[in-house]
Symmetry: C2
């Protein structure tokens, strides 16, 4: 969670003059999103989310992120929709930062996903892949294999030698064996339970598209395996994975090459979250209101996926 | 700001069964209130604030706080109203804590109050004093003169000797000269700009009654002098104080004894916030998402008020 930037009522009123959503009634910083400052905004026309993009989100990427949300909403995928300004732009500037207003999505995320939630998330991910398949813009995944080495270099010296060797070997292996030519398109790349809203047990929509990029669809599913299918004690729940696969597969059929690659892709996804969390552990200042997430959790998941021999061990039929 | 406690959708749905406000649509932790965990709750019947009372708020005080809000709302003072549960109670339990749902108050606080805001706050404070004057319950001010010594003892050894002597002398003087017999009643005791909402330049209501207690009305005004009438460079703005006094006085006439006592009461209020901030500085854990507030600001204000000879220097006519 994070709220970084203070927004004054005065500055917000000026910002709202560029929109046609009525007068300001309320604006409260919310504990949502790790990378940006988010506010729940109420105006005379309803509830919205106001997002201020902090420095980790490059302004040059905003047309991709916000355009994607617009594209997905047009395809009837349930997700927040950027509100268009009077001048036609999707974002402006507030408190010195790029800032956008997006529609409010009802629902709540779940901290302990049951099987039915994993099923919902799997189906939603496949629908997202389908809806995004004809989106005109593209964005490289800067947090894929080659990006991991960039993260790893400055922190390598700060971990125990044995662990450093293990990560070196892992990166070599992943670089060498990373698949080529799997089906590709726009992926969410961060579909953690935080980013899927439910009303009751039904998915009400997806949020937080600020890691979205072009990469293998199956890699997105591998991220979800990491994010949804482990219990609090870090044991893997094969039934949850099986439910997620089956639901995904019903909406978008996975090819044999994708299924085959999943254990390796899941290792890669675990490595990605291990490295970004470790990097943040060393680099994010303590005085910012960010909960530093535990990197060890993903080291554990990496080691789990590393010893998988066959996709069926993950519940893939 | 603070959000301490995670609330699961499942637990919240159970909690809501004791209310008649419709099904859960959304619930987001908000950066509001220092002492409690607050959430913006949306149900089928509208927006509410869900408050979980953390350990600093004693459960035994909740009937006073929540009853006061009910009383004030009945007197048409603009403030949040606790929603009554089906069983008639004003609070229940959620995530192991006492928890209440209160109505949502529109408006936003101001980070840099102009004179017109000080005038609004002064008038609102006087209306609050009038509206609370016939409230049946009472609560002692545990953060008045004798309480300050309790805060001071465990931290005295941790500040420089010269400063410790200054605070000792200040506490002796305040204890000795603290007025007797000024008009008393329910005071807010924490009416900082954070706790006054505006729509445009008009006060839309007051929030956060969790320091309310019985004490001198003029002491409440002295707190507001500290909270509203200094510029960011910590210079005192007499015009703001004069506007606040005049607006207060129109709604509730201040007696000559109250005006006379204001410089001393303002010293006391500065001492109170200096000591509680210093205490928190030493005692609040760093891993909790609380912004530790600067104690030095109130040492500066204490010293300013300490050298005031006559109330007119504060803008009091």
């Amino acid at each position: 969670m994070a709220v970084y930037t203070d927004v004054s009522a005065e500055a917000l009123e000026v910002f709202l003059q560029d929109y046609s959503i009525g007068g300001l009634l309320s604006c409260k910083g919310i504990a949502e999103g790790v990378e940006n400052s988010n506010y729940l905004l109420q105006t005379q026309s309803g509830s919205y989310i106001l997002t201020l993009y902090e420095k980790r989100v490059r302004q040059g990427d905003l047309p991709f992120f916000l355009g994607l949300m617009q594209h997905l909403a047009q395809k009837k995928l349930e997700c927040p929709l950027p509100v268009v300004r009077k001048d036609g732009a999707l974002f402006g500037e507030l408190a010195g930062r790029p800032a956008a207003i997006i529609t409010f999505l009802q629902g709540m995320s779940t901290g302990s996903p049951e099987i039915v939630c994993c099923r919902g998330a799997g189906a939603a991910l496949a629908k997202f892949h389908r809806a995004g398949s004809d989106f005109a813009l593209s964005r490289e995944n800067s947090l894929s294999v080659s990006g991991w080495r960039v993260l790893w270099q400055p922190i390598r010296a700060r971990v125990a030698a044995e662990l450093a060797d293990e990560i070196d070997r892992g990166l070599d292996w992943l670089t060498c064996d990373w698949p080529q030519g799997l089906p590709k398109g726009v992926i969410h790349a961060d579909l953690f339970p935080d980013n899927v809203f439910f009303l009751g047990k039904e998915v009400s929509g997806l949020i937080d598209f600020y890691f979205a990029c072009n990469d293998f669809y199956a890699y997105d599913l591998a991220i979800c395996l990491n994010a949804w299918c482990f219990e609090k004690d870090l044991s893997f729940n094969q039934a949850k994975a099986a439910a997620m696969f089956a639901a995904y597969n019903r909406e978008r059929a996975l090819g044999p090459d994708e299924c085959e690659a999943l254990p390796l892709l899941a290792c890669g996804a675990a490595m990605r979250f291990f490295l970004t969390r470790l990097y943040d552990w060393f680099h994010v200042a303590n005085d910012v209101l960010v909960v530093k997430k535990d990197a060890n959790e993903y080291l554990h998941k990496y080691r789990f996926f590393r010893q998988i021999v066959h996709p069926s061990e993950l519940g893939i039929l």
